[in-house]
Symmetry: C2
Subunit: 523 residues, 2 copies
């Protein structure tokens, strides 16, 4: 009677009800849901012929192609565990993740086969290497295997608490950890996304967010659940995005903050190509209000922010629009949109608590740590009971993110706990200082970190990326800050920098800035 | 980490995030989510003081009041099982359901206390009788108990497969059966409703559909999940509905087909009161295309049809709008809206199968039986393993409804299996003949049943309710049918009738028509 909660069921339904409807577009190629499903089935069958059985791990290193998308169905439907690896990492990372997950098969895109070859001697447990984008010496060829395979495969019985994927965290400070996502976790997040951000068979979803990143925030499955169209985009810049949005009548996309900034700062002639009315979901770092305003006013798109971590499948909050927001001024609305919001109907409980596990007051000021429990919280870290116990041993998952709660119950992240700057006994939110500096016309990106200060203990220091052809003196920037915020929060120093160090998922690596600039001392 | 799937979690979330928002309106009274939640807590506490413990049954006989709504939270949150009884039934039915469920407490509205008193001598297992609408001799008073109770109660641990409600079927032919709905069943249906028919905190939902009826199709919980407003309406006619829709800015309602017909046939001056843009969900019997057209064109409301049974919590299909429907003519769109549609994303698998359990072809012609499996299917019939085994012993729930599948995969009910008329070896769908007759200007309602025929085995016979002040001769009706459908389907006889016999949930009791008119023989 009862059936397990699994996102695989979405493809079963889509094939049955939307078999002839366009499922996937990738460059010049197009597949219906029936064709896409048959390709997944053939790849499942091929994997079984290669010896993959229930519980085995299959790793992928690939950008957003239809073959990467196929992995999200073909691998789990034989009961195997998908390990989608961040392709922007380096061979050392690949080695660690492939070895740690014990992957039996490694599939790689054209840009990554060489990197894998460079570490192949260390990958003794891997039984087969599969090239996704065409024949290569020493590699099996994906399309040939698929062509030779039957669509009939042995479908094992899968429980909703079985492992679906292992997603490695980006690891800004420590070794990457393998987040174990179950079928139930992913189903829950996929459904929650659609409840709060509905899609229908008339929608088209653009893949700029990497599919490896928390399983593309589970849109790898949500889009299929809705019977909507996946538009794959392995590489892009702003004009490419605007063009494909127009061509494929894209209505929905997820975008990391860096992509949002890229779109917001695109030249006017590129923006002119973009149709109105696209819904954009963002997460990963709190976007500045100014970025939100530009996307919404200049493009006529609407932004919704969610918050979460790979460990929470990922969504544990969404900045849900409320009827009372409609009456607000543009500025006030943008401020609310910069908040991380409230728990999803399906994600479980989210709390912001102090050291004593007491909920912080709803005053928009008192910081606490975000903790969560519910059906999106991972089963734990793969083969790492100590790290698992540390972050969720008492039944609540500890996010490591500092946040305040506004009077309306909306949560706003102030910082990663470890990124809070404590200067002269005052807490300074680096995120708040960054958001203010982003309002300066010359600034493209900025990161604020604490540097050692004899007088203050720590003091804020800003690393600034200027827009092409623009700049500003430290004095001008300091004055801009003093005009706009409490003086104790104003950075004591400003360092222009060509590019900010980032993790492969686009999060700024503040520890690199801190480490590389340890010799900076505050004035 | 993981938490049980239960609709109780929706109230937890609504109180936290929408505590000050209007939750419930009932006549002149209004409660915020925090006030409503506190009332539920107090009633939970009072029930515990009355000796109700986990697993006990608490029966209600009441119309759509806020106190009936409170039962959907107060009873299950102490682990007890709610038995919402159809108040339109007679004392004999009440006796059977109260005894069969073993209810420890019976709560009744003002119109039903006397009926309960009339059978009270037989209700030895009931420990307390509670009057919901004010003091009455021999009854405890709801509001007094609530006032005296603390909001603190003992919250037991509840599993998602625990029993939440027992809903008795209307029983057209046999004894009522107690459908066991679990927390997981109800959560799944509530979430599915919102995925396909989104509501937000800005929505207001009007209660015309009885809450006892399959738990108000789970909108008792879905509305709360969305943070929307419940507008209670214990009694109504068309003008009352139109007035309250305007006053409370109602945006959503569920309506049984008889309510739809009432709205469709309301006088023009009553319709003129109605604001546009209300979304109406209907189910229970396939509405005629003409009814759909009138509601949509004359009122500017939009109708969506779902299908299901009390045994499936209830939704197992929804007539999901598709982008390609937009290009259709009004007539063709109305025809599609009269279909029962496709499985919900969350409801599990729905199939239409022949006697050999093979899926029928998608030809819109070949009838089969609707069967289903998934997380909305009940745990079984209470204390009735035989009936449970009979309808779902092999893992699929058998609906007893006959349907065809159209080429687009949309399911359309042709009849209850037992209502199919077999005339001269041809299957005649009584529903199809009824839908055609409803297009006649003089006809308000109609029911077609098979009557014995020497020549044909069975032949169709129509029972017709004319609109006030209108009528038509049998000859005229026969000619109307001959002009519009295959001749073998045309009723051989027409009987005017003042009112059709119906179950308390509004389903026409064809067995009564057949029985009462067994002396009719076809010409």
């Amino acid at each position: 009677m009862e059936v397990p909660l699994t996102p695989l069921d979405f493809l079963r339904r889509a094939r049955k009800l939307h078999g002839a409807r366009e499922a996937v577009v990738d460059g010049g190629e197009r597949w219906s849901y029936e064709e896409f499903g048959t390709r997944c089935d053939r790849w499942s069958s091929a994997l079984q012929r290669l010896g993959v059985t229930q519980g085995d791990r299959v790793a992928y290193i690939a950008p957003n192609t239809h073959r990467q998308l196929e992995s999200f169905y073909a691998v789990p439907q034989i009961g195997a565990v998908l390990v989608p690896i961040n392709f922007r990492l380096v061979p050392d990372d690949f080695r660690y993740m492939i070895q740690h997950s014990g992957a039996k098969i490694v599939c790689a895109g054209a840009d990554h086969t060489a990197a894998v070859d460079s570490i192949r001697g260390d990958l003794k447990d891997v039984e087969h290497f599969v090239s996704l984008d065409g024949p290569r010496d020493g590699w099996l060829d994906y399309e040939s295997l698929l062509k030779d395979a039957s669509a009939a495969f042995d479908r094992p019985s899968i429980g909703e608490r079985d492992l679906l994927t292992i997603n490695y965290t980006s690891g800004t400070t420590s070794r990457p950890k393998g987040v174990m996502i179950t079928h139930r976790n992913a189903w829950m997040n996929s459904v929650g996304m659609l409840m709060h951000w509905p899609m229908t068979p008339g929608d088209a979803y653009l893949w700029t967010l990497p599919m490896f990143h928390a399983n593309g925030w589970t849109f790898t499955w949500s889009v299929t659940a809705a019977g909507a169209k996946h538009v794959c985009l392995p590489k892009f810049d702003a004009p490419t995005i605007f063009k494909i949005v127009a061509k494929e009548q894209v209505t929905r996309m997820c975008a990391a903050p860096t992509v949002l900034i890229m779109l917001a700062n695109a030249p006017a002639e590129a923006k002119a190509l973009a149709p109105k009315g696209v819904g954009v979901m963002t997460a990963g770092a709190p976007p500045a209000a100014v970025t939100i305003q530009r996307i919404e006013e200049e493009l006529g798109w609407s932004i919704i922010q969610i918050y979460g971590l790979t460990e929470t499948a990922p969504g544990i909050s969404i900045c849900e629009p409320l009827p009372e927001h409609r009456a607000l001024s543009k500025d006030d609305r943008a401020k609310i949109k910069a908040r991380q919001g409230v728990e999803f109907i399906t994600s479980g409980e989210l709390r912001v608590v102090d050291d004593q596990r007491r909920d912080v007051p709803r005053d928009g000021k008192t910081p606490g740590e975000i903790i969560a429990r519910g059906n999106v919280v991972m089963a734990g870290y793969y083969n790492d009971p100590d790290a698992t116990a540390k972050c969720m041993g008492d039944g609540w998952f500890k996010s490591g993110d500092a946040a305040v709660v506004h009077p309306d119950g909306y949560v706003q992240i102030t910082d990663r706990l470890k990124d809070v700057i404590i200067s002269g006994g005052e807490n300074i939110s680096s995120v708040e200082v960054e958001a203010m500096l982003l309002r300066h016309d010359a600034i493209q990106e900025v990161a604020v970190v604490g540097v050692p200060s004899e007088k203050w203990g720590e003091s804020p220091h800003a690393f600034v990326v200027f827009k092409t052809g623009q700049s500003a003196t430290p004095e001008a920037l300091r004055q801009f800050c003093r005009d706009n915020m409490a003086h104790f929060k104003v950075p004591h120093g400003f360092t222009p920098i060509g590019e900010l160090p980032k993790t492969a998922t686009g999060k700024i690596q503040k520890f690199v800035l801190r480490k590389g600039r340890a010799n900076i001392t505050a004035q």
